[in-house]
Amino acid sequence: MARYMVRRLLQFVPTVFGALFLLHYLTSVAIQLTGNPVRAVFGDRMPPESVLRNLTERLGLGDPCLEQPFNPCLSLFLHRLESIFLHFDFGTDFNQRPVTDIVAGALPLTIRLTIIAFLVELVIGIIAGVLAGLRNGSFWDYLVKISTVLLIAVPIFVLAVVVRDFVNVSFGNWLRGMDGVPDLISRGVFAPTWTPNYQWASLVVPGVVLGALSLATIARLTRTSLLENMRADYVRTARAKGLRTRRVVGVHTLRNSLIPVITFLGTDLGALMGGAVITEGVFSVPGIGRQVFASIFTGETTVVIGIVTMLVLVYLVASLIVDLLYAVLDPRIRYE
């Protein structure tokens, strides 16, 4: 166990630096190919040379290596690493507001949204997977198989737009016109956009949409691994001992079948972060994702870079935790 943990931690360090460098190189190449991103703020107007130079310099984009295509800009990378790890500085927006401030203000909502999405995909996904896996070839099995394929095939932004217009606006308007429907439902859960009056309730629908894609994957993962494990010798032994089906499935089989689901949750966090940009954008939830969504349209590239850098760090730490958890759950990994 200890050896596995040490090895995994040692791998973690170069992966973090590597991922940050990759991010840095991607942005540098894009700047080198396009030109100074600060000019985007001014639109068609040509700003005075001094203003442009000043702003570029202050945003840390003044390095001449950003004008030579495909130059890796190592000194700029080291400088960025220094400000990230020593000063906890992820850059500023064009109005000098630190990205860390922006994120701190928006973080609670995004965490809530992610929790709802996680709960939805775990609870519904596992239940659907178990139903389908236990009755292989039945109506439930086909229902789960077909609906998950459909869910995977629909791009998440389409799902978000359709749900917003149909469920939150049309159905919500109908609810709001009725008597006797509590406000928590009609103006909270089915509010057309996020409202500060119902901090949790109005996050439910966006959370379900965000969790929908991974829900399908979790259901399919649970189904296949349950099907495989039901044929295992230890399940036959458990049945032969006369244990009830509920115990055989719930305790013996499910525990082993959920190992691939746990592994998936690590990578899933990355997908949820990307998905949050879309769902928060569509449902106007003022979280981190919406900040990215809005900054794309205002052209504030430094905000996008700063937030994505933070998210990548969070993602890497989360993957590390999932990997360590994995070793706790599965002895085959730990004694390797």
């Binding site: 590597g18 190449v29 791009p155 049309s170």
Partner: protein
């Protein structure tokens, strides 16, 4: 593909009856049973696939979409960019004149849907080719040579996997101001090759120790011959399956990135652009979303179905 089928190693690998190889006439003029016994993994898979109605209908859909992308003139003679808003031509419902109605800018929506297939499919196919070439090469090399090289390549794969797909694409594309189909294809390739590399690596490691590879090695085959003639044809099946599903994923990714404002831009025509332009008119004019979304979902669904069918057909254990 023909190389895979003609390879002597692929022959019989699925059914385990190679001794008949020498006796069967090579020009295929022998009687039916002999040919059946020497059928390759891919020939067997093909025979199973054409009997699968889901696979056939999904392939037909892809064929239709591909013909739209390659020969749009076959489907429409209208120019997708001949737009006019004068005369109340903005957002008209479907009619005999305009089969899919008109867009907000008064363009013929049917022509846009047909011509939009080109960009969507081009991005997806090019990115898939790039992913298979890059990921396949890295996976093959890492799996075959092992040791230090494998460790280094695996760490590089880890680094790329540390960047969530959508976030990485956003960061690069938001800075890039002139986005053409190839910039999206390159970004998708750079961010998605790692999964193919991992699949390839595992698959190569699994087939490296097999008897026939050892036999070829004992006969003095060079590493290049071992790698490309003996290991690759047998390791490629899971990559083909995943790449097919990925093709659908890329169609969806193009639409998503365009919706986020970091994909293709307006003078370009693509399904993503069509959805992006009209997502606010869902209530008044639902067909404006119905047609492009239907094409995107149909294409993604078809690729998933084809990939699933391929997986079942190419796995000898399931037969």
């Amino acid at each position: 593909m023909s190389d895979v089928i003609s390879s002597p190693v692929a022959t019989g690998a699925g059914i385990g009856a190679p001794p008949l190889d020498g006796t069967a006439p090579p020009d295929g003029s022998g009687d039916l049973p002999a040919r059946e016994r020497t059928a390759s993994l891919w020939a067997d898979a093909w025979r199973q696939l054409i009997r699968n109605p889901l696979f056939v209908s999904a392939s037909l859909f892809i064929l239709v979409v591909t013909s739209m992308a390659v020969f749009p003139r076959l489907w429409t003679s209208k120019d997708p960019l001949a737009c006019t808003v004068s005369g109340g031509l903005s957002r008209n419902p479907p009619s005999a004149e305009h089969w899919f109605g008109t867009s907000i800018l008064g363009c013929d929506y049917y022509a846009q849907a047909i011509h939009g297939a080109r960009n969507s499919m081009l991005i997806s196919v090019m990115a898939a080719i790039g992913v298979v070439l890059l990921g396949g090469m890295v996976g093959l090399v890492a799996g075959y040579f092992g040791g230090m090289l494998d460790s280094v390549l695996s760490r590089i794969i880890d680094v790329f996997l540390g960047l969530p797909f959508l976030l990485g694409a956003i960061v690069f594309l938001v800075i890039l101001k002139d986005r053409e189909w190839w910039s999206l294809a390159v970004v998708l390739t750079v961010l998605a090759w790692t999964v193919i590399a991992r699949i390839m690596r595992g698959s190569v490691i699994a087939s490296k120790g097999l008897d026939y590879v050892q036999a070829a090695k004992a006969l003095g085959a060079t590493w290049r011959r071992l790698m490309f003639r003996h290991i690759l044809p047998n390791a490629v099946a899971p990559v083909v399956v995943y790449a097919t599903i990925l093709l659908g994923g890329f169609v969806s990714a193009e639409a998503t990135l365009t919706f986020l404002g970091v994909g293709l831009q307006v003078p370009s025509v693509s399904w993503g652009v069509m959805i992006d332009q009209h997502d606010g008119y869902f209530h008044e004019d639902p067909w404006l979303l119905f047609f492009p979304v239907g094409l995107v979902v149909g294409t993604v669904l078809s690729f998933i179905v084809i990939g699933d069918a391929l997986r079942d057909a190419l796995d000898p254990r399931l037969r």
